[in-house]
């Protein structure tokens, strides 16, 4: 590989979560050196909880510990006044042509992809999940240079391989989705502080005041109620698979551990430094606690899908653990809300 090409100025950054990673790396490439993964996550109000009713994904409950795909990049860029270009395509040829054009310009771009056909992923991880993100930062003969933020190192994909994952099908089909920051104005500390405040306020709203009972902190209670019924309703085998799915959504690669709660704790720690406000640092501890509790619940759930725990009382105990987590998170967000930041 020729290391003198201009695109090599792009620096790969490994992050816990792919969309945070793309956001961080692309903004740093534009000169915003202060950008970190926790900051992108927090400004983008990334923390969430939802169990989408009546929907199953991979034959399990549709649960997410983070906000909807695409929102973090969009919100973080917007709050910093960064102009963004995003495109989707109805046909693969146009998508390829546009990507080639940006690569030739030397502009690293984010691409949404599906992981089922993503050749460098281990087979065990290749489900039909379409909200993975990676950066294309150059081309070397017939291979695209790929920076996948969840990986330690960069990799490559051939044109057919890349096109295939950009046109994966199913829920959240990427349709060749490509995005990148266009114009970056000078950013002051004051703008960063504003972005932090609006990120926190939006996250408080999403977790505490979202209508319905299946999202935000109340969504955790919703799942807790479901777990109590799963053993009778679905049978032990299926109920175990459902618990396994929760653990995967919570702990798998991309979460930073503890269902993104540690990542949010890290954000609040950074936020406290920017705002020079120790109260925020104290609330960071609450999210560390919540993350630890999520992990404790995962260990208990593992007892079920490993076949060690089989009784209804085990399901009840897991459900109770989730209720405790809900209280910790509810209180933490109420504290954040009570700070009246930005007022």
């Amino acid at each position: 590989m020729n290391i003198d090409t201009p695109t090599d100025a792009f620096r790969h950054i490994q992050t816990a979560h792919c969309e945070n990673g793309v956001t961080t790396a692309l903004l740093r490439h534009q000169g915003l050196e202060f950008m970190t993964e926790p900051l992108a996550f927090g400004m983008g109000s990334g923390l969430f909880y939802i169990q989408i009713p009546f929907l199953t994904i991979n034959n399990g409950p549709a649960i997410s510990f983070r906000t909807m795909p695409g929102a973090i990049f969009k919100r973080t860029c917007k709050s910093l006044g960064v102009e963004v270009t995003r495109k989707k395509f109805s046909n693969a040829a146009a998508a390829e042509a546009f990507l080639d054009y940006k690569v030739k310009e030397g502009v690293p771009v984010g691409c949404q992809v599906g992981v089922f056909h993503l050749t460098y992923f281990p087979k065990e991880y290749r489900f039909h999940f379409n909200a993975h993100n990676l950066i294309v930062y150059g081309q070397d003969e017939d291979r695209y240079l790929i920076s996948d933020p969840v990986m330690e190192d960069v990799t490559t994909l051939t044109r057919p391989e890349l096109t295939r994952v950009r046109f994966a099908q199913g829920p959240l089909a990427p349709k060749g989705h490509i995005y990148y920051p266009e114009k970056v104005k000078p950013i002051t500390d004051e703008m960063i502080r504003k972005g932090i405040v609006s990120g926190i306020r939006r996250n408080v709203r999403d977790m505490l005041r979202i209508p319905g009972n299946f999202a935000g902190v109340n969504g955790i209670r919703h799942t807790s109620g479901n777990i109590r019924k799963w053993r009778d309703k679905l049978g032990l085998k299926k109920a175990s698979l459902y618990l396994g799915q929760i653990v995967r959504m919570q702990e798998e690669i991309g979460t930073g551990g503890g269902g993104f709660r540690f990542l949010y704790g890290a954000f609040l720690e950074e936020a406290a430094a920017y705002m020079q406000d120790d109260r925020i640092a104290n609330i960071s501890e609450d999210f560390t606690k919540a993350g630890d509790m999520w992990r404790a619940s995962a260990i208990k759930m593992a007892g079920v899908y490993k076949g060690r725990l089989t009784e209804q009382k085990d399901f009840n105990e897991i459900a109770d653990m989730l209720l405790d987590i809900r209280l910790v998170e509810k209180e933490a967000f109420q504290k954040l809300s009570g700070l009246n930041l930005g007022k």
Binding site: A266, M301, A302, K306
Partner: protein, 132 residues
């Protein structure tokens, strides 16, 4: 999670990469650390695959018994559901569901069979001749 508590228990992912996690250091501050994996999530992934393989075996049996068309088997083999499959073929779900019936399947045109075969990454003759 404290840095010293970060599990280092290799799983399938460690063939590709270690993953970045957020942990607390000795001073109680957050920093990042790399993990090789955690058995709790490895076991969750394993149990998901046990579930997948059972579904595939049931699908094979259903084709063998003449209850379902080969499309059903390959759909399960490729971890798809009707929605994902119809995304790849471009046929509406309602038609895809009909194509799962052996009686409808045997009258499918070559063109439709080719669409399905390409969605499954197999040849038309593999699709046609699958007997379970």
């Amino acid at each position: 999670m404290k840095k010293e508590d970060l599990p280092q228990e290799p799983g399938p992912l460690s063939r590709l990469t270690r993953e970045l996690c957020y942990v607390k250091n000795e001073e109680g501050k957050y920093e990042t650390a790399l993990s090789n994996g955690w058995d709790v999530k490895k076991d969750a992934l394993d149990s998901a695959w046990v579930g997948v393989n059972e579904r595939i075996e049931e699908a094979r049996q259903a084709v063998f018994n003449g209850e379902k068309s080969p499309i059903y088997y390959f759909m399960e083999l490729r971890l798809m559901d009707v929605g994902v499959l119809s995304g790849y073929t471009g046929y509406f779900s309602i038609f895809t569901k009909r194509h799962l019936k052996p009686s409808v399947f045997k009258n499918l045109s070559e063109r439709k069979l080719a669409k399905y075969a390409s969605a499954f990454d197999i040849t038309v003759s593999e699709l046609k001749n699958f007997k379970g």
